[in-house]
Symmetry: C2
């Protein structure tokens, strides 16, 4: 699982401060999460192949999270894309994108499939054999979801010594890896747990931006390996955070601590700040494993 | 009159190829012409004060000419703008921008005034005491206008020697500069042309992007000082130019030559090209005064 931070700043793009966007590489998927203005440039800088992006998740309809989307879709078109593109985001997104493309008389030549969200409960919005994606309902000025990306348990790992001991033919290996027992010709049944070991632990990544301090999401984040949580402000601006429905670094750390996550990534910094060590300092008082997001940062998780 | 080329490439933004956008500084106005994705970054790089932009002219509704507009408007809002913003562009632009802002529940706290265009004839769309702006109807795949920016003639220049000779009191100077004759106390009338000289020649700048080769615009460009004309392709791609309703460098030069303009600026290059001297070479065969646009180029005209 690899995470590319394409942009982690609030509000307007600046030369060194890109608005929200991330790529999550997970089990052969390339998921784009949020798409502020300039995201396509950030994708190019990070050498992400555009054609590999098939699913885009938009948290909410503030410009710094989706104004890069119309341009990216147009670029897909110009690149001759034919593959489906799935877009998950708040109700209204389809109308907006459709209108923009229609005005330019430039509808896509690939299927553009919108999955509009309006539920305030957690929902599974994507699932295949390897990964599931659920919403994390957040508390912001407009309807907003975070996203929980979960690897699904892989096949069980073959215990090669045990398999050799029972002289099991390799035609059974696939079934065994799927968890089945084996009946030997002599009639003996070998239980799967003698033949296999647990698969590698499945990982989870949670993206929570933008949101006020919202303890009710804690159960949805229970023990996730990595949590990206917005920290627009330092504690000195707690009143402003509350007013604008954003979080402070300390509040993000409180959520991380209560949910017992593995690692907390702080991001969505207000551009009023020039140095970011105070974010780590304030968060560390509550929760130990903290890293700062940074445009261009790549994390192997 | 000063022109900033913020972006002069067709299609999708790349690290070194910004989509269409220009700033024209003319008689104390700062006009923004087209606004592709990333324009606000280019404005910052060129140290253009955002608050000085009061009029934005959008040629047509292809993404590379206006996908930077929603973000720029949002930035104006975040910067606490109070001054009116006037936007001139094709019908449909108001609906699109309004929808995007409404989705984000982030309407502007400054007056946002749309002047929607749909006429296929030339029209005056802006005029004050110093400058007029007229449309230049172009021939593209969607409804498109170029723009003709004209300085209006200033006051006549006082002939100080003549004024001294006739012993004219300075209380009359303002009237004289406006072109009035003067009646002396003795009853004699001194004609204005004895007292003044012509004001400095007024300049004109024409922006023509995007368009197929369109000789019918020639009379509208008659003897303008500077013409920016799109040259998406070289002559080798003349068929593609015709098909996509773009121009070649040679066609742009043909328009410049027929209209007897002072200087031709070529731009809106397809990103398929890596070197641009062939554009100058092909255009120069038809018209002598040619320069290449370049992102970041500033021209004092």
């Amino acid at each position: 699982m690899r995470l590319y931070i394409l942009g982690c700043f609030a509000a307007t793009p600046r030369a060194l401060n890109n608005p929200s966007s991330q790529i999550l590489e997970i089990k052969n998927h390339i998921f784009l999460i949020d798409c502020g203005e300039g995201t396509q440039l950030q994708l190019r800088k990070n050498k992400i192949r555009f054609s590999r992006i098939q699913h885009i998740f938009i948290s909410h309809l503030h410009g710094d999270h989706f104004f890069g989307l119309p341009g990216l879709i147009s670029t897909f078109r110009l690149l001759g894309r034919e593959k489906e593109l799935h877009i998950y985001g708040p109700k209204g997104l389809k109308e907006a994108i459709t209108l923009l493309l229609k005005l330019g008389d430039s509808w896509t030549n690939f299927p553009l499939i919108f999955h509009e969200l309006s539920s305030k409960e957690q929902n599974v919005i994507f699932q295949d054999n390897t990964v599931s994606v659920k919403t994390i309902p957040l508390d912001h000025r407009v309807y907003t979801n975070g996203f929980l990306f979960s690897e699904l348990p892989g096949e069980r790992k073959l215990n090669t010594k045990a398999v050799a001991k029972y002289k099991i033919d390799k035609v059974y290996f696939n079934k065994i890896k799927k968890g089945e027992d084996v009946s030997l010709e002599a009639g003996q049944i070998i239980s799967n747990d003698l033949l296999t070991m647990d698969p590698p632990k499945s990982k989870q990544y949670a993206y929570c931006s933008d949101t006020a301090f919202s303890p009710k999401i804690v159960p949805l984040l229970n023990k996730v390996d990595v949590l990206y949580h917005e920290a627009t402000f330092l504690e000195e601006e707690a009143v402003l955070a509350q007013k604008t429905k954003h979080s402070t670094a300390k509040q993000a750390a409180t959520i991380a601590s209560k949910a017992k996550v593995g690692l907390l990534i702080l991001g969505h910094f207000s551009t009023r700040y020039k140095t970011f060590q105070p974010f780590v300092k304030q968060a560390s008082e509550i929760f130990e494993s903290v890293v700062l997001a940074e445009d261009g940062l790549i994390l192997d998780l």
